[in-house]
Symmetry: C2
Subunit: 335 residues, 2 copies
């Protein structure tokens, strides 16, 4: 008999998620039916989207999220014991999976390709959601050109650090905005960003004016809010904004949005294009992103960093730490 641990949503987040909003409970795993297989989580992802998207499932549901798990039992010939799969089954140690289970984004399980010496956790980040968000978002939404200036907010995070490196490969001047000196140092010295700004200690508007005298052409936005207002106000005519996240505005009931500067006058005067996107939009090109990012890792053109928290019971700590900006690169939990 297999006993699963899982986190259940007790209460929708009000403001920043609280430990008591989720409960860790145990559950007995039933016998498999035809077509099902049982996976044991190896790595679980914690991502900013979980904050706003929790409202998409009913109270009492398992907390949303994806994992890399090992198949330990199967009654489905396409999914064999010993294989590792990516699955959107939430915060659970053991899960009975059906090949149609897609979770909140309707992304069904797939077998992780063999990536040899690389950690399988990359399937949750650089070779998964965040890598594809960075790759497709920059290329398909920002229409980047060599010689242009790209600003990335949340640049010390999984998506931002990746998007900036893609920008460098495309010949752009890349400026990253982060919330710590350590992240600034990492993106500049390790990842090759041209400039890094710590928004907590520097005057973002003044520094941008100085380091981007020809203004900004593309903005890969992970934060929204007033940092974005500053960036938008320094953009060139016909600038492009890929809106990947707005962590500054997830605070509270999504029906009661926070107030800030009206950005329409900025969008209008510079004739900007601001497009929100989820990486899932390119679900039918998922493998293309995976293969491209894997090739870039092998060529040492994309460097990654993972902040790994040990222990399934520490999921909440990993989640809140990531939201508070304490992690660098991709935050994952190793069971």
């Amino acid at each position: 008999m297999v006993i699963a641990k899982k986190f259940v949503i007790n209460k929708y987040f009000e403001g920043e998620p609280k430990r008591s909003d989720l409960s860790l409970v145990e559950e007995e795993i039933p016998e498999l039916e035809d077509g099902e297989f049982l996976i044991e989580a190896e790595y679980l992802s914690v991502d900013p989207y979980m904050w706003p998207y929790v409202y998409h499932v009913p109270l009492g549901s398992t907390m949303i999220g994806s994992q890399i798990g090992k198949i330990i039992q199967t009654k489905n010939s396409k999914f064999r014991v010993g294989e590792y799969i990516f699955a959107n089954v939430g915060w659970r140690t053991h899960t009975v999976v059906n090949e149609d289970d897609g979770g909140v984004f309707e992304q069904t399980p797939y077998i992780m390709p063999d990536i040899e010496d690389l950690p399988r956790s990359l399937g949750l980040g650089t070779l998964g959601l965040t890598g594809n968000a960075a790759y497709f978002g920059l290329v398909e939404i920002c229409f980047p050109n060599s010689g242009e200036t790209l600003v990335v907010s949340g640049a010390g995070g999984a998506v931002g650090s990746h998007a900036g490196q893609v920008g460098k490969m495309l010949g752009m001047t890349v400026i990253g905005i982060t919330g710590s000196d350590a992240k600034c140092k990492w993106i500049k010295e390790e990842l090759g960003f041209d400039h890094a700004i710590n928004y907590k200690t520097q005057d973002v508007a003044a520094v941008l004016k100085e380091i981007a005298p020809n203004k900004i052409d593309c903005y890969f936005d992970n934060v929204g809010g007033e940092i974005s207002t500053i960036v938008l106000s320094q953009m060139n005519l016909l600038g492009r904004v890929a809106l990947c996240g707005c962590i500054s505005s997830y605070d509270g009931d999504p029906k009661i949005l926070p107030k800030g500067t009206n950005i329409q006058p900025l969008i209008l005067s510079a004739q900007l294009k601001v497009e929100g996107f989820l990486a899932m939009r390119w679900m039918n090109r998922w493998a293309e992103g995976f293969d491209q990012n894997l090739e870039w890792i092998r060529q040492n053109k994309i460097k990654y960093h993972e902040t790994v928290t040990e222990g399934f019971e520490n999921m909440f700590d990993a989640f809140i730490g990531m939201l508070q900006g304490n992690s660098m690169g991709k935050a994952v939990v190793k069971v």
Copy 2:
């Protein structure tokens, strides 16, 4: 000797434009030099863009704007006496024009095609800036499809009333938001909009929910601000927003933008594309827009309304009346 009257910018607008911000002065017109020609204004345009764009010219300049004028003297063989031209020369009765004079949008003068029985003032509206903003903005930014739902704000204005009619021709369900019952009646009964909402007397969010149960696919936005927040929050996945104006946010120094709801969470969750544009972007296709709109007028598919103020000295009244929503359709001044 020709004496011109002109309005000069004394003071940048602070909040809503005040009469004292402009001065009406007289000026003696000098002898023409080679290449120049002298025009006498017949119709002048007043448009919302003049409010924010006044900051683009130095204090003491002639107030910005365009006009249809008759050539009364010439030293340029391409521009003959008796012809009518469109020119961006500001609020002036008589002007020495050089064929390179483009004004704040760098749109150089052109000879008005003969439109026979139609009023030449259309060259400032339906067959000019506002008609082309509506036509290109809807088609090129909103990517409209038959069967989709289009919301137009500022729907009783020159651009909005035109954009909604183009939407109808394309097979869309069209909802107009305006600020008076008279405009609601006009766009619904005369122009064929499916629905009209008076935002001053109706609950826009509740009415939209009722009349657009399948949500909104395209939004042609002339106003920005909280009306737009309501519309954005009821849009479908991958909705498109053509941001043509944000009259609600022109109030005051453009460097101190008004506050409102953060729209990034709305753009992100529905993966919207919000694009600001000026019709001038399609300067090289100007004649295409002119010809298309003229054909539609002839076919009675585009109906127009002009609010005509008589007398050059009443330019300011026409301008402020248009800004306050007192005009219907295109506001022009007949000298």
